[in-house]
Amino acid sequence: MVHSGILPHHPRWAKLFENLKFVVVDELHAYRGVFGSHLCNVLRRLQRICRHYGSNPTFICSSATIANPRELAERLTEAPFELVEKSGAPRGEKFFVFVNPPIVNHQLGIRRSYLGETRRIASEFLKRNLQLIVFAQSRLSTEILTTYLKDDFDDVPGGPERIRGYRGGYLPLRRREIEKGLREGAVRAVVSTNALELGIDIGALDVSVMAGYPGTIAATWQRAGRAGRRASRSAAVMVASSAPLDQFVVRNPSYFFDATPERALIDPDNLHILVDHIKCAAFELPFTAAESFGRHDVQEILALLAEQGLVHLSGETGDELARWMWTNESYPADAVSLRSVSSDNFVVVDVTNESRVIGETDFTSGPATLHPKAIYIVEGALFQVERFDFEGRKAYVREVNCDYYTDAITYTRVTSLDTFEQEGVASHGEVHVVSRVVGFKKIKFYTNENVGSGELDLPEQQMHTTSYCLTIPEHVMTLLPYAADDRRDGIVGLSFAMRQVAQLLLMCDRHDIGISIDSDDLSENPAPGVTKARIFVYDNYPGGIGFSAPLYRMHHELLEATRKLIVECGCENGCPGCVGPIGNTGPLAKTAAVRVLDLLLAPAFDSAQAKLLEAKSA
């Protein structure tokens, strides 16, 4: 509204802007990443318009618990803030329980399925007639858990109907109905993704059960807060999955209870985002030849926009009256979506009876969830995709009765375009990421057996972003006393562990970063001999969102912590808690990964040594 309705039409809101005293930003913590970066630019535009009308409003922000509310507020509004951090609100007693599913196979380090464990715990609460919310990590696990819970109450009249699923992609009407059911108590349990984490009024529930660690301390508190909002007794249960981060948290509860929560990061000067908002701002009010907007040189950006004919400098540079006029017919705010980098999506059409739309999926995750033969689940009802119309952005599905779900296999290739900084084996810079869904696995409900697979031929998705890159030089590879397959396993295992540690160090959501390995050993036609390998940890947003530079600075910490995670893990040859489950990686993955890290971390490993080794290997 402010972005595309009010700011571009500010003359009609002149009275408002002239008298604007306060701007309130609620749920500040939600404005991080891409959304936050957009919001910061919207606020820059708002402040610009306010200056035009001679007002200078005060910003008031409220936030859930994050480490840096003040810093975030100051970054978003680019103004100094006073922090009020004591809460006087009454609070009921709250039990916080961490559950680590028991190990069922010591050798392989396999624990009982955390989804199964979540289901058992949720059922117990339900039987005691407590209203609860179950948070799952993904849309898929939301649907799986909904199915399981409905099954548990199949023999109770009206039981399954009172257990609902909830996630992005449901149509608004269905969502409103579920929210109302929760507030009124008709719905006894809802299984949700982070869609119900904040913002939506569902009243106070008795218990919040989290299937898997939400990834950040802030999100965990937010989800726990869905239970017991009034001064009543409540409980929050976190069931750890076998992912390294979950295992770390459940073994070190003090990390969660004592450590400061995450910092919310934004990068308002991401060029993709900044340029979009500079266009909007130029439309709203011509820039002067001396004006600034954000960290980059706006004059240089305007000069480039002028080459495209979007703006034109009227008057001479240095002239006080010179202005960058908007010289285009378009209305730029319409082309900028604040929540994502692209506003495209896919709709899901059920053709079982009369065609009807039953859901939608954002553009990026479309191919992975709606590919042909994929099982699409809505509140436990299973549909199979009959036809995936990529160009038309539609998937046609038909209701089916089967006992498996599908999991897409995505292949990602990262190419380095430009290096911003480099020191030794670490660097960060700009990369090109191409990902393609190449196939899928059929996985049986409950047993998680792999019961089949298929190949797919779908279009690629591409983006430019920034990335941290770890190079494992040729001579290090040479020093590994293993066969090519085992070397490969070591690198794959190392990247698996590194991703988790990076997420912990950056304190970001798991979807914020992606990982990819670039190695000849991994290609179909490996070059003869031993070659170097590279591990990319990239920002999973076009243009990057500011993770790669901090990660580059924490390079040593990253390697040390990764080594610690792997070495201190109790398993023999790798498990989901360190280098990944055996089966995904080979028997020597753990050993090889540690060896690589030892070599990279060895104090003697300086550049002179490196050259020497290089010479030797040559």
């Binding site: 571009p8 039409h9 500010h10 003359p11 009609r12 002149a14 060029l271 993709h272 340029v275 130029a282 439309f283 709203e284 009010l285 011509p286 980059h296 040189d297 240089e300 950006i301 000069a303 480039l304 926009l305 002028a306 080459e307 495209q308 004919g309 034109h312 009227s314 008057g315 009256l321 202005r323 006029m325 908007w326 010289t327 285009n328 017919e329 378009s330 209305y331 730029p332 700009e430 430019h464 243009g543």
Partner: protein, 418 residues
């Protein structure tokens, strides 16, 4: 070249083929060139192009002087057309050329054209060109004076486009927008009624109604880009055609207004065809000039009967229906009934037929008190409503039929008085 620029080049990709030439423009117009090319003059910060058509000049089928005279003699009817009693001469015609159609703070009116008839019957057009961005405020202030003199502003689609765009510009510069208090005749809506439903553009109307033709007119979608070319290069040549286009729009607007008020003032006899007569009736009816509306509709029925137009039957239906309603408002119920009967007999579309039959049922039941006939119409009404699957209509038709039958049975059982 800095690294920022390099990185930006990857992001800001050329979206169209029309990437602007960076070569220095061959013509960097000086203020003097502007005056020569466009034949205008600088007045302080305003660049103004003023033209005058003498009374003897011909535009389409008429002379400017005739148009002026007709407008003067029919000006007192202006309130009928614009629905605002305050509308009176002098009329100031206005028309904008803008940098886009989307509205908002980034859409500018780079050319504001005003026109008025002079006392001697000539037509003056005055066009304000935004030659330098920094002059906009001065230009708007000058325009406000011209518009402020008007007893009524006259535009073509100005109520929904030109006026809001101008208002935004005035608000942008913190200037007062006084035109919202002035009477404003938007000729588009009556023109649509009188002359053309679809593609009711000025260019079409001036050919059809005024008999005027333009040569080498610039098309609307080219206009913003031509202006941007001028802004970027300083070369005023692309503007020549735009100024001419705008000037002709103003002349056509003035001529159309003159013709429109002439018909409204002259009444049904001035209507050349059924369509004009019908439109005239609507204008009178809206202004609650019932007697004049009846005259106009009667004329429309007559003209439609002899019309050879493809739309003759549609016009007949529309005219008869409008006339029936006008008669009813004038409490001439028998005349109204004749129109409804004529409609039913003419084989009009079923929705109108249903309305006519219902009106006749009402007429016979309540006015004529001829219950037998009323029952026949009520029965037909029920049949027609049933065919249309409109439950609410069907229910009300049934209700009416039942009531009439009840009344009939009362009448039957009542002993006849000697």
């Amino acid at each position: 070249m800095s690294s920022l620029t390099d990185r930006l080049r990857g992001i800001i990709t050329p979206n169209r083929a029309d990437v602007v030439e960076r070569a220095a423009p061959a013509v960097r117009a000086t203020d003097g060139d502007l005056e020569t090319l466009l034949d205008g003059k600088w007045y302080g910060h305003c660049f103004i192009v003023e033209r005058r058509l003498p009374p003897s000049a011909k535009y389409g089928r008429s002379r400017i002087g005739e148009l002026a005279a007709r407008l003067t003699s029919s000006a007192h009817e202006a309130p009928l057309v614009c629905g605002n009693d305050a509308a009176k001469p002098p009329f100031v015609f206005f028309d904008l050329e803008t940098t886009g159609l989307s509205g908002g703070a980034g859409t500018q009116a780079f050319l504001i054209g005003c026109a008025w008839f002079d006392d001697d019957g000539g037509l003056t057009t005055r066009q304000y060109l935004l030659a330098r961005y920094s002059d906009e405020r001065a230009m708007l202030a000058a325009v406000a004076e011209d518009l402020g003199r008007a007893g009524a502003l006259v535009s073509f689609n100005g109520k929904s486009f030109d006026a809001p765009v101008l208002e935004t510009r005035y608000l942008f510069h913190r200037l007062e927008w006084t035109a919202s208090q002035q009477a404003h005749i938007d000729v588009l809506h009556p023109a649509r009624r009188f002359w053309k439903e679809d593609d009711c553009s000025l260019a079409v109307l001036e050919q059809q109604v005024l008999g005027a033709w333009r040569d080498g007119d610039v098309s609307g979608y080219e206009i913003p880009e031509r202006y941007f070319q001028f802004v970027r290069s300083g070369d005023a040549r692309p503007l020549v055609a735009i100024l001419e286009h705008n000037r002709l729009d103003l002349v056509s607007l003035a001529a159309l207004t003159s013709r429109l008020l002439e018909i409204v003032c002259g009444g049904p006899d001035y209507a050349e065809n059924a369509r004009e007569a019908l439109a005239l009736g609507h204008i009178y009816a809206r202004a609650r000039a019932e007697a004049r509306a009846v005259d106009a509709y009667e004329r429309a029925v007559t003209l439609a009967a002899t019309s050879r137009s493809r739309r003759a039957s549609v016009l007949t239906t529309e005219a008869l229906r409008a006339l029936a309603l006008a008669y009813r408002r004038a409490r001439r119920f028998d005349d109204a009934a004749k129109c409804w009967t004529a409609l039913v007999e003419s084989g009009c579309p079923s929705a109108v037929e249903r309305e006519a039959i219902e009106a006749l049922a009402i007429h016979h039941e309540h006015r004529r008190r001829d219950l037998e006939s009323a029952r026949l119409f009520a029965q037909r009404n029920l049949d027609v409503s049933g065919r249309q699957h409109r439950d609410a209509l069907k229910a009300s038709a049934k209700h009416r039929l039942d009531r009439i039958e009840r009344k009939l049975s009362c009448t039957d059982s009542r002993p006849l008085l000697p």
